[in-house]
């Protein structure tokens, strides 16, 4: 009481610093101790992590599938080309008549001719079935015009279609857009599925970590009761379990990422071959840095939340009634 105020203040400041240091070192001790505990029970830990990893792998995998399909649908707006297949027995004369008609039309902005020989060559190149074509007496592939309409307007497209239908030698008009539209539909379907799965499997991860934490709490009942009587706060008693939840989530997420990378590695060769056949701009894409960060942070967060829920329920039951 009689001590000068500044000494007292200095002492309080020192006490506060000691307390903050102790709090920080308690966090560090908890973080390290929980890892030691995980390593002390390698089989149980590995199984929990594997379950979490597999639960997270599924949405991650679908997400990757979706972003690979997205490469095609992203270009959807740009392409509304028509492919105009010509009759197989068409004469050079008729071909140039069709070309003239299209060239002079305002509805067409650009035009590309693919002869039946070139079509056969392309087909042989990307299908690897050149021998089959060679064995045929005649080239079965028709010549075609790839038409880029000048306007994406529906009315303009239908008058273009009318014009084409009126030309002699035109066999089949294929709107390239249609398969892309279907692809976009599939892609949307995958996106929705990913979202639903993420929600469902997030709950699964919550339950898995919650249940593991519940077991850990039960195993440490005696310790919790003693600490409670010695004046440990809820936060102090909960801390090791929350760290455990974070580690479960984080390492489970890492497990999912490793499984995903393994699968992608295994799929790279056939998937790249398939994608490149659609054009050199298409490549197998993985989860990417952001995706991986979201996966790891999200799973760590879920692990923490699962632990938090388990801890608040079970600690309350163990401590003061």
């Amino acid at each position: 009481m009689n001590r000068p105020a500044n000494t007292k203040g200095a002492r309080r400041e020192r006490d506060r610093r000691i307390r903050i240091n102790a709090w920080a070192s308690n966090h560090r001790d908890c973080a390290l101790d929980t890892i030691r505990r995980m390593l002390a029970q390698p089989v149980a830990t590995a199984m929990t992590l594997a379950v979490i990893g597999i639960a997270l792998l599924l949405p991650a995998l679908l997400y990757v599938a979706g972003s690979n399909l997205g490469q095609f649908t992203d270009r959807l707006e740009a392409t509304n080309r028509l492919t105009v297949y010509l009759a197989p027995d068409i004469s050079e004369q008729s071909i140039s008549e069709v070309r003239e008609a299209l060239d002079s039309s305002e509805l067409v902005s650009s035009l590309q001719f693919i002869s039946s020989e070139q079509a056969a060559e392309d087909f042989a190149r990307w299908s690897g079935l050149g021998d089959v074509l060679d064995s045929l007496a005649d080239n079965p592939l028709p010549a075609a015009f790839v038409v880029q309409p000048s306007s994406a307007d529906a009315g303009a497209l239908s008058s273009l279609q009318e014009l084409l239908n009126g030309l002699a030698g035109v066999d089949l008009i294929q709107v390239d857009q249609r398969w892309l539209e279907r692809l976009a539909g599939i892609s949307r379907l995958i996106d929705r599925t990913v979202m639903t799965l993420v929600v469902i499997l997030a709950f699964a991860v919550l339950f898995i970590t919650g249940n593991s934490i519940r077991t850990l709490i039960a195993n440490r009942q005696a310790e919790i009761r003693v600490m409670d009587l010695m004046g440990a706060t809820r936060g102090y008693m909960a801390r090791p379990f929350l760290y455990m939840g974070i580690w479960y989530g984080l390492f489970g997420g890492l497990m999912a990422w490793l499984l995903l990378q393994g699968m992608l590695l295994f799929l790279t060769e056939p998937a790249t071959a398939l994608l490149v056949s659609y054009g050199p701009q298409y490549q197998l894409v993985g989860l990417g840095g952001t995706g991986a960060a979201v996966l790891l942070l999200g799973s760590a967060g879920l692990g923490w939340l699962g632990a938090k829920l388990a801890v608040s329920r079970h600690l309350r039951a163990l401590t003061r009634s």
Binding site: S25, M227, M230, G231
Partner: protein
């Protein structure tokens, strides 16, 4: 220091463990609480540790009604109270040292200060040489002394003990009681529940006797504070 005002405790199911118990205990006093099993000794201590709610009356510790403490203050109240259990409640997954250090960890002591205090407490109970052992490998008397070291390491103002000598032979029991008297002499208020009448009457401290939940006797003995330390 500790004051009970008409405290009653009924357990769910109707068993009335304490009926209108009132007493007052001064700072630095050493008090024994005796009575047969089931007389309410443990319940009384549990009410002081806030591990059971009470039904009636109030308990003041240092002038504060402890059962009115908000939940977030309870841990800090408990840190001021050392508790010794009959079954010592040691944790067998860690060393003697770590058991004794637990209250200091909880209270956020820095490691060097904690080490100093743990060693001082272990020295006091004569087990400094066993700090690295697992308490499971020690005898019952030694385990109880570790429990005592853990209870006093935080220098509590009040020490509660529930049958601390219940599992020990008479000589070890006397040693434990002598240890308690030493702590009392440095100013710690002590409330010790024991049914070992022959032992506690010999020690000549105040004795509260419970019977069927009621305080039936409160005997004061001459203080031994003048006696020279052993």
């Amino acid at each position: 220091m500790i004051r009970f005002d008409d405290v009653s405790k009924r357990y769910p199911g109707g068993h009335e463990a304490l009926k209108l118990v009132s007493f007052d205990m001064g700072r630095g006093e050493m008090v024994f609480l005796t009575g047969r099993s089931g007389a309410g000794k443990s319940t009384l201590l549990k009410l002081l540790m806030l591990s059971e709610p009470l039904n009636q009356g109030q308990i003041l510790v240092g002038g504060r009604n402890i059962h009115r403490l908000p939940a977030n203050k309870i841990p800090y109240y408990r840190r001021r109270i050392g508790v010794v259990f009959q079954d010592h409640q040691l944790l067998f997954d860690r060393s003697v040292y770590d058991n004794v250090a637990l209250p200091l960890q909880i209270d956020g002591y820095d490691k060097h200060e904690a080490a100093r205090r743990v060693r001082a407490a272990l020295d006091k109970v004569g087990l400094l040489s066993k700090e690295k052992l697992n308490p499971m490998t020690l005898s019952g008397g030694e385990q109880q002394r570790i429990g005592i070291a853990r209870a006093v390491v935080n220098r509590p103002q009040i020490l509660l003990a529930d049958e601390p000598t219940g599992n020990l032979d008479p000589q070890l029991a006397a040693e434990i009681m002598a240890l308690f008297e030493q702590f009392n002499q440095i100013g710690v208020s002590m409330l010790i529940a024991s049914h070992d009448l022959s032992l506690i009457t010999r020690l000549r401290h105040r004795i509260l006797t419970l019977e069927h939940g009621q305080l039936i006797r409160d005997e004061h003995h001459p203080s031994r504070s003048g006696a020279s330390p052993g």
